[in-house]
Symmetry: C2
Subunit: 193 residues, 2 copies
């Protein structure tokens, strides 16, 4: 009985933590991380600030959980990307503007002085460029049709994905994000059969 | 004499306003717009808050001046861009990380709810996409070598410039922003002689 109760309490705690992280994602999408307050997160999830601090003692601790959640969004481990799946990821992102907005707001802030997400993003981009280069190599070999190496193409691929998100979030009627990304893949050329 | 004094006072006011805008640019680069306070701007420029409010009665009024300043950065009117000048612009940007940081922080924030720079960026991107399409048409005609129209290529060109700025600001040692942008131009192909 004690064991079962223990599990239940733990499950309840985890569920509550997941609710808090979802609330934090929404508050960051609305206000950015610097503009987000623990009070706003607590209110959204129906907790007192004291109750929130029990789960996440600091705002930075909550950010760590948000960034860990962010790592789940891409749905595939870094090493398993294929170029054709990227187009599907961009299609999927176009159906979840809230998530894209949270990420884009955090990325924007991360370049300001001493931002707590800066290291996360710096490391993430190193990793993502490497995994994109691997995906391009699997598709094209050591040179793309235009002569660029996978390593030199990878930062462009990542830049297009990020840059299109800003244009699309600002003006979804004018910017067809998945279509534009497919256009970029077309620029890369056809793999030699 | 009254006239001369009047001019001098006006010139002094304009110089002071320009100093305030420069201070605001630096504070936004450090903290973002939402994280920026009028107190921090006043302190940096050696004014009391009251003195600052004399020049800019609200934080939003100061933001308008900052964004107007931003419009000067590109140095060329929208209608006069040429594709080869874009590579020079990116080279130039790589020498002024502070300015790029202010812009990137503001762009990131602009997608959050009710941000005062949102309309500015939305309109700016509409304008910039159109002027990039015109530059691409002047260079390539109605179709690029890969078959895309200038209008479909323009959002990609803008996205690459913005996306590379984030990667470069986060990790200037690993990301050669001007080199990567030249790689992108290479992807577009050679104009038919």
């Amino acid at each position: 009985m004690a064991y079962r109760d223990g599990m239940t309490a733990r499950a309840r705690t985890e569920e509550r933590r997941a609710e808090i992280v979802r609330a934090a994602l929404a508050v960051i999408a609305e206000r950015g991380y610097r503009g987000a307050s623990m009070a706003a997160v607590a209110e959204r999830v129906g907790l007192t600030q004291q109750g929130l601090l029990h789960h996440f003692p600091t705002k930075d601790a909550l950010l760590v959980a948000v960034l860990r959640e962010r790592d789940q969004w891409d749905a595939l481990p870094d090493t398993r990307w294929r170029v054709d799946l990227l187009a599907s990821l961009v299609e999927y992102n176009a159906m979840r503007p809230g998530v894209v907005q949270t990420f884009s707001a955090l990325l924007g802030e991360s370049v300001t002085e001493g931002h707590p997400a800066r290291e996360y993003f710096t490391e993430r981009y190193t990793r993502v460029r490497a995994s994109m280069a691997a995906a391009l190599r699997a598709e094209y070999g050591d040179r793309l049709p235009n002569g660029l190496t996978p390593e030199r193409t990878a930062p462009l691929l990542v830049a297009v994905m990020d840059g299109l998100q800003y244009q699309w979030l600002l003006d979804p009627e004018s910017v067809d994000m998945p279509g534009a990304f497919r256009d970029f893949l077309r620029l890369l050329g056809e793999p030699a059969g």
